[in-house]
């Protein structure tokens, strides 16, 4: 008992201490935040967020200017006034030039607009957004623009999807021809068969009872789609597809639809009229059950998103450390790079593990929720299960 008291006391003191320490240090940072040389925040968000190009690196010219190297992607815009407009994002020259009356906002544009007194947050302007500009060089508010561009997230997702479909169809054809059914599996089958069997035996069968065959295609699709996008995102220079909230929201909503579609009467009765409860407790339990109905897919969405974003940020932060130290002193930079790179490689291997674990957890939890949705009343102590 004493040790438990001591523990909570230590936690309380430590959190109070860290709070007091952090306030003055953060206050100082707010004043001296002017960029000088290396800006880690810009690098991190440049990687995490979506963009109109694959950006690999910058070449620093002799006069100190930067030449970005990357692959431009198509920009597809529709506006009711101007009609469709399709061109490559290289036409913007990284935001330096306007094209066809459109402008790609950059950090510099945003800074200028803030100085002019435009409310950035209220107007929804952010770096990377394409806005219409008038002849006077100002943002033209009379023109509405809908951006259907193939951004790097979209392009990378399609590439991953094409690879996945190619692998799956080729091995499916092999099985149809009899390879791997009566003989030993060959080639790519050796790689995929254990994973497919793992999803079947560990995810589908234990959670879905005798209806596992019906849901196995969905679970396998979700598993491999998340897995291949996670792994593609780990290749340096690529986009962070699974760390994009829109991507995970769509996956979570599809899971919600599957859960609702496979639900039975007992599931809804469990939410709106928990069996075997006194009336007073129902008033508390029903809102909680309704909330948990929405929180389950929310948790799926946020878990995948936050895990992938956190992993990517850690890797870039470790690499950024080299340059933060190098801006203090060149030799400090070289010294840091050894530890930094060693640690980055370590985190990289952890991230490969996380790519698998997140794909597994997403499909696993989806299977659990589906299993709950079509569960029949068969035991008395079911209320304790929640």
């Amino acid at each position: 008992m004493t040790s438990r008291l001591m523990k909570s006391f230590t936690v309380a003191v430590f959190s109070l201490f860290s709070f007091i320490i952090s306030v003055p240090s953060f206050a100082k940072e707010g004043e001296g935040d002017k960029k000088e040389g290396f800006n880690a925040q810009k690098i991190i968000f440049g990687h995490i967020l979506d963009a109109h190009e694959f950006h690999f690196f910058d070449i620093i010219n002799k006069d100190g200017s930067h030449t970005p190297v990357g692959i431009p992607l198509p920009v597809i815009l529709y506006s009711p006034q101007k009609g469709f407009d399709v061109f490559m994002s290289s036409k913007f020259h990284h935001g330096e030039h306007d094209h066809d009356g459109y402008r790609l906002l950059t950090e510099e544009h945003i800074e200028e607009l803030t100085k002019e007194g435009v409310d950035i947050k209220k107007e929804g302007l952010n770096p990377g957004k394409i806005v219409p500009v008038g002849a006077d060089g100002k943002i033209d508010h009379s023109v509405a623009v809908y951006d259907f561009s193939l951004t790097r997230n979209v392009v990378q997702m399609f590439l991953a999807l094409a690879l996945l479909v190619w692998i799956m169809i080729s091995i499916a054809n092999r099985y149809k021809k009899g390879y791997g059914v009566k003989t030993a599996p060959t080639g790519m089958q050796n790689l995929m068969e254990p994973i497919i069997a793992f999803v079947r035996d560990e995810v589908a069968k234990p959670n879905l009872g005798n209806r596992w065959e019906k849901y196995l295609p969905y679970l396998l699709t979700v598993f491999f789609f998340i897995l291949i996008n996670n792994i593609f995102g780990l290749i340096p220079g690529t986009a962070n597809v699974t760390g994009n909230i829109a991507f995970t929201v769509v996956l979570g909503l599809i899971s919600l639809v599957v859960i609702v579609a496979s639900s039975r009467k007992y599931y809804w009765g469990h939410i709106f009229n928990p069996p075997g409860m006194p009336l007073g407790i129902k008033f508390i339990l029903v809102p909680v059950e309704i909330l948990s109905f929405f929180i389950r897919p929310m948790a799926l969405i946020i878990r995948l998103f936050a895990n992938m974003v956190a992993g990517h940020i850690i890797i870039i932060c470790l690499i950024s450390l080299i340059f933060i130290f190098a801006s203090l002193n060149q030799y400090a930079g070289w010294g840091t790079s050894i530890f930094s790179i060693a640690f980055t490689i370590f985190i990289y291997f952890i991230e490969i593990l996380v790519a698998f674990i997140q794909a597994f957890i997403f499909s696993m939890l989806t299977a659990v929720f589906i299993g709950q949705a079509f569960e029949e009343p068969h035991h008395d102590a079911h209320a304790a299960a929640h």
Binding site: S18, S22, V23, F26, E31, R303, F360, I361
Partner: protein
Amino acid sequence: MDFFLLEAVANAGGAVGAGLAAMGAGIGVGQIGKGAVEAIARQPEALNDIRSNMILTAALVEGAALFAIIVGFLAMVL
């Protein structure tokens, strides 16, 4: 209150909140791991059941922590 100080307090609050959430999740996941390892030591033949339940519970704990981290992040950004 000075604007910069306000932002600094928001940043500090977000960081401290994320840290506390990580602490709680660490304790929770540690307890799960401890329980699972003890259970496997007692009953090695139930390894598969214990492992899948362990991962599931750890995922639920981690989900709560990630909610807190996102809230902390929003406190910084908004």
